[in-house]
Subunit: 338 residues, 2 copies
DNA sequence: TCACAAGATGTGAGCGGTTGCAATACAAAA
DNA sequence: TTTTGTATTGCAACCGCTCACATCTTGTGA
């Protein structure tokens, strides 16, 4: 078995409490004793048992982050951001993938009820608003990322969906495009709604007509984007600019456009949202979301909550428009069949 | 405070051990008592305190996975695979990003010495062989992923680097390419060495000459690939086929080739290794590495080790060659400047 | 009717720490 | 010298749960 406080104490001829004080750097211990104990600790290769300590301190120094099962390019960034801040404070990050056949909130509820973690960070759409509310009953610090918190007591870290959508749309307009369409995400989805709102605001700002029939609903997927474009074309709607609610949709849309003989950006300028890795390679103009910073900010909130500090209700990070070939006249964009 | 065994016991008029027996589903309890206790547990919303249980059981039901700081497309897959198997056994996954300014092994050593996790899974290159050996001293179950274990007692989960490299190279040869070059990863890197070996073996099998001057060293990065190609071209080496040791290098190589006026696949057919998301989009032929399965297998090993089972020394997963535009005559590959 | 086995439950000692309080020692102040 | 204070250290309870063992019921066969 591992060496314990008792063992060290016996070796030094002091009690376990004295040794405990030494490792906790308490001022209540004589310097000479301290030195001796430290020496023995090193010799015996003693390390405090984290579990035992947690039991008395009632702290696990662990944060849980819940993620949807689908592995995308954005989650690793969020986790990395979390770990960055967490580790700096001696905390660790436990990842919990939900979704698929797994009963969504049961896993998290168990984690919380067992007091296995000190706080839970939930990332967009992993848990529904109702589930978040239900879990909040267990009075465990929680933080929502990229999801508007359903309760005032739970802080959320958001990013400027509308601002991003406005800059994307305005960019298309600045390029001289006047006949825009928008491929939006599912109705009721916070991100989707906000981005759609931004699209409209930008049109209004430019004095262009807002027309709901030029907004096409779809899922946040490549296929959804492709289908939405096909629908638009079938309906005979004319457009020279397209703002998709995320990059996946934008890519699907571009593929569909090309299949239909349209060229990007000549015939249709395309802009997406998220700035996934792919966007860079394909040359897709998009709105960059600061994922890593999202993770960092969420962790800061979580740590503050754990310490009992009052935190601001939420934080909104800004986004940045990035222009690439898909909306730059004269540049060539080619997708490859694979 | 949360409700404890004692509380439930008092409420039912039984002792804490009886309640403990009930929640552990021991057969030593009368059915009537059991029913009553279960009812009260539900009413009082009791959940066992995981920390306390860990203290006696000396088990945390947590696995640590150490990853390099660089967020690539492959790690999320590995984590997801781990979580998949782990959660099925009631385990959780703690992620630890190492690298950057962080003292590499100190963090992990602390984790281990504090007995905060039951096992550690280390993914390629996160920890050096020496560090793995040093950590193994603490007699904590460990598993290496995509890294040949430096000690016989530590199992490793590998994938068939050489087989993949052979199939990639053979494919180029089958396409009629006779003047191949190889962009290899750093000398001493296990993956790099194996893939290079595979390249050679395939050449030999085809009766083609093996020539070390046609192997160019570089890092596993886009830049490394680009530089290696430039070097080859500057040296006036002729080639119509290129096997890069990973996709990143292959992509960098293709960019460089195109900058130098060569077309892919007409002038040079290119094959990579890994099958990152991008490969699909760009149309890069490559060798698919089963990352998720790597995570699953590693977790199975880890769980077996925790249970004290003897495990096979290592497991080698097979790879699969995927042909795409970059090595298919007649297909067009275009990279976009961004 | 009594001894004894088996079944059901309680007791108490840990697991490895933390921490309030008491105890001791030694020095300075009265 | 006695009192008071301060710096050190030990004691023991506690965190919430597990488990070996003791105890107490009951039921059964002689």
């Amino acid at each position: 078995m591992a060496v314990t406080l008792e063992d060290v104490g016996r070796q030094c001829g002091v009690s376990r409490s004295t040794v405990s004080r030494v490792i906790n750097d308490s001022p209540l211990v004589n310097q000479r004793t301290k030195d001796m104990v430290l020496k023995v600790i090193k010799e015996m290769r003693y390390s405090p048992n984290f579990i035992a300590r947690s039991l008395t301190k009632n702290r696990t120094e662990t944060l849980a982050v819940t993620l949807p099962d689908i592995v995308g390019g954005v989650f690793p960034e969020i986790i990395a951001g979390m770990d960055e801040v967490a580790s700096r404070h001696g905390y660790h990050v436990l990842v919990v993938f939900l979704g698929g056949a797994r009963p969504h909130s049961a896993t998290v509820e168990k984690l919380i009820r067992n007091r296995r973690v000190d706080a839970v960070v939930t990332v967009a759409s992993t848990l529904s608003d109702q589930q978040v509310v239900a879990l909040s009953e267990w009075n465990m610090p929680m933080v929502c990322v990229a999801q508007k918190s359903p309760l005032a007591i739970i802080p959320s870290v958001l990013f400027d969906n509308m601002g991003g959508a406005i800059s994307a749309t305005s960019h298309l307009i600045a390029q001289g495009r006047r006949h825009l369409i928008h491929l939006r995400g599912a109705q009721g989805n916070y991100d989707a709604d906000e981005r759609c709102r931004g699209f409209r605001v930008a049109l209004e700002q430019a004095g262009l007509p807002v027309d709901a029939s030029r907004e096409f609903a779809g899922e946040f997927s490549r296929d959804g984007g492709a289908r939405a474009v096909s629908r638009a074309l079938e309906q005979g709607i004319e457009f020279d600019g397209l703002f998709a609610a995320n990059d996946e949709m934008a890519i699907g849309a571009m593929e569909a456009l090309i299949r239909h003989g349209k060229s990007v950006p000549q015939d249709v300028a395309v802009v997406g949202f998220d700035d996934v890795d792919l966007a860079h390679f394909i040359g897709l103009s998009t709105v960059k979301v600061p994922h890593r910073e999202l993770g960092r900010a969420a962790t800061r909130f979580a740590l503050d909550l754990i310490e009992g500090k009052t935190v601001s209700e939420s934080e909104v990070l800004s986004t940045e428009f990035i222009q690439r070939a898909s909306s730059t006249p004269g540049r060539q964009l080619n997708l490859l069949q694979s």
